[in-house]
Symmetry: C2
Subunit: 410 residues, 2 copies
């Protein structure tokens, strides 16, 4: 079958970014088919050497978050360099004029400066707080409340989650803002000025999931429930041979299947009658979660992982073993096949890193490729992209010699 | 200033969903201006009574994730009911024909069935795994590896994060898929079939952030670092009066400001010289994080929170106190003003819940409203939406009497 063009084919985005949110937003647009040009200062932005690093010193983090982009390297302190970035934004055809940035304090990159040169500009500014004060994922997370409900029951101290979830959501919201504004520009011809604050992304999630309303309406201070699911029945269990399994029973059918698999139908039935409760309801399962988990853990602790898998496979129950990241990708791991065979995954050969498994877009689009494309080397597309603005070879050579631009060879 | 229309004005989306991912995807499109019609079976989907609940039994979770949508209630088991949902999708004008669903096992809702009636259909199916096998946030999280690196240092057991981060990202990716496909349909006239698997969303994040490459290339099994930031310097500290502060020093300037604020310039300078290291680099700050945190914690433990705030305010340093959700919204809390005054937040009056603070879209769009709109009551728009398909009052009454549709009054 002939491959179809990706949905955003033709769109051009200029990204001036660092860390996770803006780079992920831009990468997602690139994976959807846009031409995304990440413009960095010479030597790279503050994320260019961020951990984890490959043995060569190349950042695995940077390589992961900039896949499929073009890289242009320009001296941001030089008037000429800034003018080149401005031209990249403004001279980019009807599907261009789109800027995604988390840079702060660079007036020449702001909406007000760029819209002078391109009235239909689409501009997304990612920031910490809506008033422009700085914040990062870790401070926003502390401020909103999730570390106070995460972690083992009875643990007194805040437990930060390691996943930069707010950065991820913020990057995806920024991409949504751009696609919304692009649609509106096609209809009305008007551009758009937008901003996304990391703090707002986290606060919105706390509100959307009912955490804020529970505190305000019910006057509840939510506590830690460890690995239990609030308001339902889910928990991790240890098998006889030390395996660890997460088990989730959301529906009546899940619960019924779990009792059959663990041979607890009669015991739980007797318990329900004597307590006058109904464990087919989520409310009662949550209320008596420790009793139920106590019964279930006896079954898990006398059953080997392989037998647990046999008993649970084919039931409606939602369950998974726990894996380390290493178990997903190391050659001899039984979990590797599932990852390597995933149609979203592919092998990229990244300079300074080598060949490794990398993800494409987690949206499967019928007929279109999901193959991951390696990240550029810093400055790899400086000449080709600036050449596209009409700069001659002699002009580029002059800019190079004066240090205004840099390619990847230097 | 006259308010501008929102970017997705005119777009019509039919959502058949439950839980977090699909409802959040649909709500985000609604917040961007689309008309989103959530169609539920009579009595509601499995998320309709999900915790947390208001004292009335109304789900704060459902109310939070369905703001600004229309609600239609139809008997999914009846041929007539299914035909009405099909018409809602197919007879919805040039900007309609868009379906977002995480329903499984409903053939009549799948792409193949609906495209027969609308060739330019845009259809996103949210699923657990790419092969259609089920999974939820909690099982995907266990499978990918984050619980093995989250939680206190030295803790042996997996620590699940409480935030359903994969659901959130999955919902946002599904909305991005729809906007990408909508753009392509405007250009080519063709529709699109898409799917987003929750597992893929989590696996992509692990890859994008470098966790998979670190395991594969460096053969590292990442361990827990508690609330330390991997590869940099960040940690939480306790103040003399029991306050808790998250402190992040990403750049040289952050670090320098932190040392000045905590009166540690000379001590750290002597330490650097004697150890032959350079704490202005992130690598060395991470390597010696426990030594540095030990010095810093002495300052925090002898300083009251109010004085910590004074010392850190005005510096470049990234920091925040920890809050509970309750501290963000209760009347007498010093943190409430910051939330209540946030331009993203508004007060909604939700039936069964009452007036409470709720978030709008975390993307600020110049000139457009961000005011949150309350969630519908189940079936609130059954008559008005189906009336829009041309059904007469008599036809609607007949469907009601035979139990094919239901409004919110019944």
């Amino acid at each position: 079958m002939l491959e179809q063009p990706l949905p955003l084919a033709g769109m051009r985005v200029v990204e001036v970014s660092s860390f996770v949110a803006a780079p992920l937003g831009g990468m997602t647009l690139a994976q959807l088919g846009a031409e995304v040009i990440r413009v960095d200062p010479i030597g790279g932005a503050p994320d260019h050497r961020r951990w984890p690093l490959a043995p060569s010193g190349t950042s695995l983090y940077w390589a992961g978050l900039n896949k499929g982009k073009k890289s242009v390297s320009v001296d941001f302190r030089s008037t000429e360099g800034r003018a080149l970035v401005t031209r990249l934004v403004t001279d980019s055809g009807p599907d261009g004029g789109i800027v995604l940035t988390n840079a702060v304090g660079r007036r020449w990159l702001e909406y007000d400066a760029l819209v002078e040169h391109r009235p239909d500009l689409i501009h997304v500014q990612i920031e910490g707080h809506y008033d422009g004060t700085p914040a990062v994922d870790y401070t926003v997370n502390a401020a909103i409340g999730f570390p106070m409900v995460t972690g083992p029951e009875g643990h007194a101290d805040p437990v930060n989650h390691v996943l930069p979830a707010w950065d991820i959501a913020c990057g995806l919201y920024s991409a949504l803002g751009i696609l919304g504004a692009d649609r509106q520009r096609r209809v009305t011809g008007r551009g758009q000025r937008m901003s996304v604050a990391l703090y707002d992304v986290a606060l919105a999630a706390a509100g959307n999931l009912g955490f804020l309303a529970e505190a305000q309406i019910n006057r509840v201070v939510r506590r830690r429930y460890g690995n239990y699911l609030y308001g339902g029945f889910a928990r991790d269990f240890t098998t006889r041979d030390g395996g660890r399994v997460m088990v989730v029973a959301l529906t009546k059918r899940h619960w019924a299947d779990l009792l059959v698999a663990t041979d607890l139908v009669d015991v739980v039935d007797a318990l329900e009658k004597s307590l006058g409760v109904d464990f087919s309801t989520e409310d009662d399962r949550f209320e008596y979660r420790e009793v139920l988990a106590g019964l279930l853990s006896r079954w898990f602790s006398r059953t080997d992982l392989v037998d647990v898998k046999t008993a649970l496979t084919g039931t409606s129950l939602l369950w998974s073993t726990y894996n380390t990241f290493a178990e997903l990708v190391t050659e001899d791991s039984p979990s590797r096949a599932m990852v390597a065979e995933n149609p979203m995954m592919g092998v990229v050969d990244q300079p300074g890193v080598g060949r490794h498994l990398a993800p494409g877009l987690p949206v499967a689009i019928e007929g279109a490729t999901r193959e991951p494309v390696r990240a550029p080397v810093l400055g790899e597309h400086t000449d080709s992209v600036l050449g596209g603005l009409g700069l001659s070879t002699a002009e580029l050579a002059d800019l190079h010699s004066r240090g205004v631009i840099r390619g990847n060879a230097q």
